[in-house]
Assembly symmetry: C2
C-alpha cells in the first residue's frame, strides 16, 4: 500500500471512530483508560522486548547517549505510562461543558457546548511513552488519534499502540480510536498534514525542524510551538534576592526545556549593582554569558552576543544578557526577539508589572515568578499534550480542554426567520 | 514595489499598529469608531464618486446585474456603514474578559485573559461596505487589519479605507491600524496567506473558489467556511405543520445564503404522508425538486438526484429530498454529505432530538427551528465577520469574541520551580 493510501485508510477509519468516541460517556472512557493502563502493565515484557530491538538498532546506528536514554523503556517508565493513563481517567471530562448559554427574544435557547475536535494527528519524536500519554489525553477528550512517532522508536510504539488498542477495545473502545502510522517513511507526515476532511488538527511536538516541516506542508490546521526563547526582565524596582532566585531557576533548573530562560534583560538603572552579582551566581553554575556592550563593560566574563543569539533557543547553560533603558525597551526587545512563549518581570512596582503583563505579546507572562511554571501540570490542567505558541486554537499549555472545540445547540418551538 | 514587498511592508506596519491597538482603552476604541462613522458620512460624495468609477468599469467589463448591485453604494448603504460602526462601538469590549482564574497550591495566581489576536488579514469579494464592517469589528477587538477586497471594488474600497483611516487617526487610531492592499494582483492573496510572523490569521469570505485558493496556499492559520450544505431532518414524531413551516423557511426565505437548506431528509415512517404535502408547498414556491428513488415514487415532480447533488450548495430554489430509515441514517447522511454548518431536526420526541443534537458534527445544530438563524446578529453577538465551519479557532458565527485569543497572566511572590 502506498503511503498516501495508508494515510487515507487511517484517516477514514479514524473519522468513523471519532463519531463513536464523541458519544461515549465519561464512565465508558474512563473504563477504557483503566483497561489500557492494565494492558500496558500486562504487556510490559512484550513492550520491553520491542524496545530492546529499537535500542539495538539505535546503538548500531550510532544514536547519542541522550537519544538512547529518551528511547529506553524500563519497568519504572512503563509503570509511569500506566499511571499517566489512570491520572487522565481521574481528570474531569472536558466534553459537554456549557461554555455559554442564552435565550433570544424569539424564544430560541442557545447553548455553546464543548465537543471533541474529531481526528487529531499527533507527531512526535523519540520518546515512546508519548504514545500512551497522547492516546490517553485524546481519548479522554473524545478524539480519535493518529500517532506518528520517531522511526527510531517504531517497534516500541507498535507494541504500545497494539497493547492500548487490544485492551481498550475489550473495554469498549471503538476500533481504530488509537492508530499508529506503520510506515516510517517521512512522506507520511506530509500526507497527514494534507489530509483535509480526514484530519481535523495536526499537533507536532519536537524539534524546530520537525515542526517547520509540518507547518510548511500543512493544509489542515496545525497547533505548534516552534521554540521557547523566554526572557526575564529585572526592573529597577526589583527585589534583587528574588530576581537572582528567579533568574537562576529559569536558566539553570532544567536548561533543556522550552520554558527555560534564554535572555536576561536588566534595567540600566540597576545594571551596575545587579549585573556583577547575577553574573557571579551564573558563572558559579557554569553558565556561559553572552552580553551586549553595556553588559560586557560591567561583566568581563561575558562574550559578545550576536544579533542571532537574541533569538536562539540554546537549551543549554548559555545566557544572553542585555541592558535596556527600562520596561518599555524590555517589552520591545521581547516582542521582537522572543517566541511568544513565557516571559517574566521581576519588580515591586505593580504599575510597571501591569504594563509588562499587558504589553508583552506572549502566551504566558509572569510577574515575580520563574518562567519554568509554564506547564499543564503546574497550571492545574493535570496533563498536557504540549505548549502552543500559536494564537489560534490554543495558546500556552494544552490540556484536555484544549483538545476540544464547541458546537452551538439551539432548541426552539418552531421558530422561523422573518 | 513588488507584490511581495508591498505585503511585507503592510505586515510590518500592521504588526507595529497591533502592539499599539492592544493597549487602547474601550473608550479610546469607541471614540475612533464614532469618528470613523462621522468620517464616512462626511466623505460620502468622495466615496460615491469612487464607486461610480467602479460601476462604470464593471459595466464596461460586462459584470452581471447581481454583481453590479452588490458593488453599488448609495446614500442608504453609506449610512448603513456608518450605523454599523456605531453599533460596533455600542457592543461590549471583548478584550480583557477573564476566561478562567485559579490560585495554585504554591500561591501562584493565574488568570486566562482575552487579548487581541494581533494582525488579521481579511479577504473578501465585491461588496465595498465589508471594508467598513471588517475594519470596525477588527478595531473593536484590538486587532490591526489588512483588507483585501475584490478588484472590481478597488476605487470604492480605497476611498472608504482612506476615509476610515483619516478620521480614525485624528481620533487617536494608531497609524496603519486599518490598511488596504493597493494592488489588485492576485499574488497579494497568496503573499498574505504565507506571511508567517506578520499575519496572525487570515479570514477569507466569499465563494468556495476564493476560499480554497487561500486555504491551499496558507502558511498562516485560516478561519473559513467553504460552503453551507444544510439539512432539515423531519422525524416520524414531527409536528407536520411546524415541519412545513421550517422547511419552507429554511429553503425559500433567502435561498442564496449559506444557512439556507439544501437537503431535506424525511423519516420513511412518515414519507407517505409528509412528502406529497411538502412537495406541493415547495412546488408552489417554484422550488425544483431532486429526489432519491423512494422520494420519486411518492413525488412524481422530482427529478433524480445525483451523488454530487447531495453535497452541492445550490444557493437557489432547488432542493434535494431523501427518504431515510430513521434518525440514525439521517445523522449518517448529514455527517457524510454536509458541510458542518447548520442542520436541524423537527420532532416532538426529545430523546430523538438529543441524539441528533449530540451526534451531528456541525457548528450549529437545531431542534424545531430553521437553519436560517445561524448568524451573529440572531445569536446576539451584535455583528459577525463570517461563519466558520472549521473546528479550530472559531466555530459557527464569528463575532467580536471570536476575533480575540487569550494569554495567561501569572502573578507570584518570587516562586521558583523545585
Amino acid at each position: 500500500m502506498s503511503v498516501k493510501d495508508e494515510i487515507r485508510k487511517l484517516g477514514e477509519q479514524a473519522r468513523a471512530a471519532a463519531h463513536q468516541l464523541a458519544v461515549l460517556t465519561t464512565a465508558q472512557k474512563n473504563q477504557c483508560l483503566h483497561a489500557m493502563a492494565d494492558g500496558i502493565l500486562k504487556d510490559a515484557d512484550i513492550i520491553k522486548e520491542a524496545n530492546a530491538q529499537d535500542l539495538g538498532a539505535g546503538r548500531a546506528a550510532g544514536l547519542s547517549a541522550a537519544m538512547l536514554d529518551r528511547l529506553a523503556l524500563n519497568d519504572k517508565r512503563i509503570e509511569a505510562m500506566a499511571a499517566g493513563l489512570r491520572d487522565v481517567a481521574a481528570l474531569p471530562d472536558p466534553v459537554g461543558r456549557v461554555l455559554d448559554s442564552r435565550t433570544r427574544p424569539n424564544g430560541l435557547s442557545l447553548r455553546k457546548v464543548a465537543v471533541p475536535i474529531g481526528v487529531i494527528a499527533f507527531i512526535y519524536e523519540s520518546r515512546p511513552n508519548v504514545t500512551a500519554d497522547a492516546a490517553g489525553l485524546c481519548l479522554k477528550a473524545g478524539n480519535a488519534v493518529i500517532l506518528r512517532g520517531g522511526k527510531e522508536a517504531i517497534q516500541s510504539n507498535r507494541a504500545i499502540a497494539r497493547s492500548l488498542l487490544d485492551s481498550g477495545t475489550r473495554a469498549g473502545l471503538p476500533a481504530n480510536a488509537v492508530q499508529l502510522v506503520q510506515t516510517t517513511d517521512r512522506e507520511a507526515v506530509r500526507e497527514l498534514a494534507q489530509a483535509t476532511g480526514l484530519v481535523d488538527v495536526i499537533i507536532p511536538r519536537g524539534g524546530e525542524a520537525l515542526i517547520r516541516a509540518v507547518a510548511e506542508n500543512a493544509r489542515v490546521p496545525v497547533i505548534k510551538h516552534y521554540k521557547g526563547v523566554c526572557h526575564v526582565f529585572v526592573d529597577c524596582d526589583a527585589d534583587f534576592d528574588m530576581a537572582e532566585r528567579i533568574v537562576i531557576n529559569a536558566k539553570c533548573q532544567r536548561p533543556g526545556v522550552c520554558n527555560a530562560m534564554e535572555t536576561l534583560l536588566v534595567d540600566e538603572a540597576v545594571a551596575k549593582t545587579f549585573l556583577p552579582r547575577i553574573a557571579s551566581a551564573l558563572l558559579a553554575r557554569k553558565v556561559e554569558l553572552r552580553g551586549d556592550e553595556a553588559t560586557r563593560k560591567l561583566v568581563s566574563a561575558a562574550k559578545a552576543a550576536t544579533e542571532a543569539d537574541w533569538s536562539t533557543e540554546y537549551g543549554d547553560l548559555i545566557i544572553n544578557i542585555r541592558v535596556v533603558p527600562g520596561v518599555d525597551a524590555g517589552i520591545v526587545h521581547i516582542n521582537r526577539y522572543g517566541s511568544q512563549h513565557s516571559d517574566a518581570i521581576v519588580t515591586r512596582n505593580q504599575a510597571t508589572a501591569d504594563r509588562f503583563l499587558r504589553e508583552v505579546d506572549s502566551a504566558t507572562v509572569y510577574h515575580n515568578a520563574s518562567t519554568r511554571f509554564t506547564d499543564g501540570g503546574e497550571f492545574g490542567m493535570g496533563a498536557e499534550v504540549g505548549i502552543s505558541t500559536d494564537k489560534i486554537g490554543a495558546r500556552g499549555p494544552m490540556g484536555l480542554e484544549e483538545l476540544t472545540t464547541y458546537k452551538w445547540i439551539i432548541e426552539g418551538t418552531g421558530q422561523v426567520r422573518e
